[in-house]
């Protein structure tokens, strides 16, 4: 260091330089005069307080190498090199051991590899190896020495390149020494997964190739997971699954790969791919079980793709009744399509309807929700009558249709008043009238008869006899069911007597009841 740590004007202006110089001086107990690395070392050995000295040197090294982001001045680094080379190697080892924090130690060592002059690097390397009790064979020491010697001996610009190579090498060495807890193999699964992509180039093997090779040779290390991540990031999950399918049944790698990609996150990513690969999703679903349902429900709610929604509905239904709590949680969502889909899912998954939920959603203002509720509620005998009683008074055709279809299997007494009232409503959909008339024909409620007469009779004559309503399908149907079910009732009998006088073949047919049966 041209023997001296005199700052030059340029150095004095640099942040941290003053502190570094002051510490160098304090360390050697030299407040005046020329401070040299040799004198510092001599001062250290004189004071006899090895531990304190080691800590002081460690602090000094840290301050100089890490304290200033712009890097220390060359003259300070030169002084530091002198100090390192002057120290007893044992003291340097103690200095290295003084830092217990592993990440801090690595940070410092990487800064040393990057900034210390080449002539001090070898000493630091040896000191670190001894401090960490690393197996540092003399052959490797010799190779480092040769690299350093070459960097020092070459002319520019080769010297700079050789120095860069040496520094990279040492950084690699330090990193491997300071980050590995031991020399015995670690489990690969404990290592963090590499997230960044590998650089493209002639010496970068394709991720696919690595994956295939790993399955073939049974490898499950970090390199495999990095490649897998790359394939998956490129949308190749289906490819991965294809490889797994072709793998031997007992392949540990295939099983481990499946476990890695079989995550809800990956499932979500696949489902959001347009168009998504159903076979790949199915393969993932097999390994995920119910944990996939939450993601699938989320996608069912958010997906704008009809095919995706249809697929999800179908696959979610396969989970069966155990999916119920998750679906019910989604019913809190106020959006109509969410509620409708959840109700449809409850039905297709075989979850029995319950009265409170049915009541709640039958009261919905949205007919689409009411319809799904009806469909669901009708499946359960426990809620069927309640649902029919409510549904048959609904004003929406989409709700009425399945209700009436279901009522063909038996119209509960509780539903008769509702249907009778609705049937005579002018806005009751005409296409349902004949069916409704036939349904009411099986009921013994007087309300049903009133509704039937409404269609079969058009008031009375001046003589008080019932007048037949104008001929219509509803009229014929009403005549038919009255003839079949109410013939003994006084008003019905009078009407039927009038009908019997008719020459209309349709009315005659209805009276014979065939029409009613046919409908």
């Amino acid at each position: 260091m041209a023997d001296g740590l005199y700052m030059e004007d340029g150095d004095r202006r640099r942040p941290g330089a003053d502190a570094a110089w002051r510490n160098l001086a304090l360390l050697a107990d030299c407040t005046t005069g020329e401070v040299t690395g040799q004198r510092l070392a001599a001062g250290l050995s004189r004071d006899g307080k090895a531990t304190q000295s080691s800590l002081a040197i460690r602090n000094l090294l840290h301050e100089i190498l890490l304290g200033d982001t712009a890097g220390p001045a060359d003259s300070i680094l030169a002084g530091l090199s002198d100090l390192i080379l002057s120290l007893d190697p044992a003291i340097l080892v103690t200095v290295m051991r003084a830092e217990n924090d592993q990440s801090r130690r690595l940070e410092f060592m990487l800064a040393a590899a990057e900034r210390l002059p080449v002539r001090a690097l070898q000493r630091v390397t040896a000191g670190l190896a001894a401090a960490l009790e690393r197996d540092y064979p003399s052959a490797v020491r010799s190779l480092i020495h040769r690299l350093a010697r070459r960097a020092l001996a070459l002319p520019q610009p080769s010297a700079a390149e050789a120095e860069k190579l040496l520094r990279e090498q040492l950084a690699l060495l330090f990193r491997s020494w300071t980050t590995r807890p031991g020399t015995m193999p670690e489990r690969a699964s404990r290592r963090p997964q590499r997230s960044q992509r590998r650089p493209a180039g002639r010496t970068t093997p394709e991720a696919d190739r690595i994956l295939e090779m790993a399955i073939e040779c049974g490898a499950t290390g970090g390199g495999v997971w990095a490649a897998l991540q790359e394939v998956v990031d490129d949308g190749g999950t289906a490819t991965v699954i294809d490889r797994i399918k072709k793998a031997p049944d007992d392949s540990p790698t295939a099983a481990a790969v499946m476990k890695r990609i079989g995550t809800p996150q990956e499932l979500q990513r696949l489902l959001r791919t347009d168009p998504f690969d159903g076979a790949a999703v199915d393969a993932l679903l097999r390994g995920l079980g119910l944990s996939a349902a939450k993601v699938m429900l989320e996608e069912l709610v958010e997906s704008t793709n009809r095919l995706t929604r249809r697929y999800l509905m179908e696959r979610l239904a396969r989970f069966g009744p155990e999916i119920r709590p998750l679906v019910e949680g989604r019913l809190k969502d106020q959006r109509w399509f969410v509620q409708r889909n959840m109700l449809a899912l409850l039905r297709s998954a075989g979850c029995p309807a319950d009265s409170p939920t049915v009541k709640r959603f039958m009261a919905s203002k949205d007919a689409r929700i009411r319809r799904e509720t009806v469909l669901w509620g009708l499946d359960n005998p426990a809620t069927r009558d309640e649902v029919l009683a409510r549904a048959l008074s609904d004003h929406d055709a989409a709700v009425l249709r399945p209700s009436l279809q279901s009522a063909r299997g038996g119209l509960p007494a509780a539903a008769v008043p509702a249907l009778a009232r609705r049937l005579v409503d002018p806005d009751f959909p005409p296409e349902f009238r004949v069916l409704s008339i036939n349904l009411l024909g099986r009921a013994d409620s007087v309300l049903a008869l009133e509704a039937l007469l409404h269609f079969a009779q058009n008031g009375t004559t001046l003589l008080g006899k019932p007048r037949l309503a104008a001929r219509s399908p509803e009229m014929l149907a009403a005549i038919g069911v009255i003839a079949r079910s109410w013939s003994s009732e006084r008003r019905a009998a009078a009407l039927l007597a009038q009908a019997a006088k008719s020459k209309d073949p349709g009315i005659m047919e209805a009276l014979r009841g065939t029409m009613a049966r046919a409908s």
Binding site: P137, L143, R146, L147, Q169, A214, A226, R243
Partner: protein, 252 residues
């Protein structure tokens, strides 16, 4: 930098048996021997140290004053794996340089070549050092070394993906023969082909317990004949021209 086999059998003097070349990569061989011992002992692969070997060879090839590069002699059959590894690495890096690979890529090729046979560290020594024919079991052991090498390299460090591929594929031939058997049909990586040719060249140039080293002209003819069938034609041609075009070999 050009190549000279350790047992210098120049084309001009076929059949001549020269003295072994001076070992100028002794430290590299010693370091690789230590690496192999670590792996054989079940320890983690010392990746940084392997790169150190490659960097040193690279530095010598780029900035050294040696005119001709000689393959290292094998003083003892037991030391064949580390010596062979250093030889293949050095030759592969020269060959990669001739193929216009950039500096980092050359060093990556070097690491891959250095570790191409690392799986052998897990193969019982009696399977590869015995002079006679191998038993079926021994042959099976040896044939597992590509898979074992690839597995331990993939497990050792993310950066060793190329090395793992080369370790796995360096016995796959252009015509689809060789080993290991692939579940998924694919052709070998270019660097695997490159290391394969260097591997064969270095192996044939070296005395083994079961045969003597081949004369250089025979090796070159062998490479020419099998180019396109066993070896990648471009690489085989590049290697043979690298050797044929070398200056007169230095005294050994």
């Amino acid at each position: 930098m050009t190549v000279t086999p350790g047992h210098d059998q120049s084309p001009e003097t076929p059949g001549r048996t020269p003295a072994p070349a001076e070992s100028h990569h002794a430290a590299e061989v010693e370091a690789v021997e230590w690496i192999f011992q670590c792996v054989a002992g079940g320890l983690r692969l010392p990746v940084a140290e392997a790169e150190c070997v490659v960097n040193t060879i690279y530095a010598e090839q780029v900035w050294g004053d040696r005119v001709a590069f000689s393959l290292q002699p094998v003083p003892d059959p037991l030391r064949f794996p580390p010596v062979h590894a250093v030889n293949v690495a050095a030759l592969a890096m020269l060959l990669a340089g001739s193929q216009q690979f950039d500096a980092p890529s050359i060093r990556r090729v070097g690491v891959a070549a250095l570790l191409h046979d690392i799986g052998m560290a897990r193969v019982p020594a009696e399977s590869w050092r015995k002079p006679g024919r191998l038993t079926a079991e021994q042959r099976d052991h040896v044939k597992r070394h590509p898979a074992q090498g690839a597995a331990l390299l993939l497990d050792a460090h993310d950066s060793l993906d190329l090395a793992a591929v080369v370790a796995y594929e360096h016995h796959l031939r252009m015509d689809g023969s060789g080993y290991p058997r692939l579940t998924y049909a694919r052709s070998a990586h270019f660097v695997s082909r490159l290391v394969q040719v260097c591997d064969v060249f270095c192996a044939l140039s070296t005395d083994r317990p079961y045969r003597k080293a081949w004369p250089l002209d025979v090796i070159l003819s062998f490479l020419d004949e099998r180019s396109g069938f066993e070896f990648h034609p471009t690489i085989a041609a590049a290697l043979t021209s690298l050797i044929r075009d070398r200056p007169a070999p230095a005294a050994t």
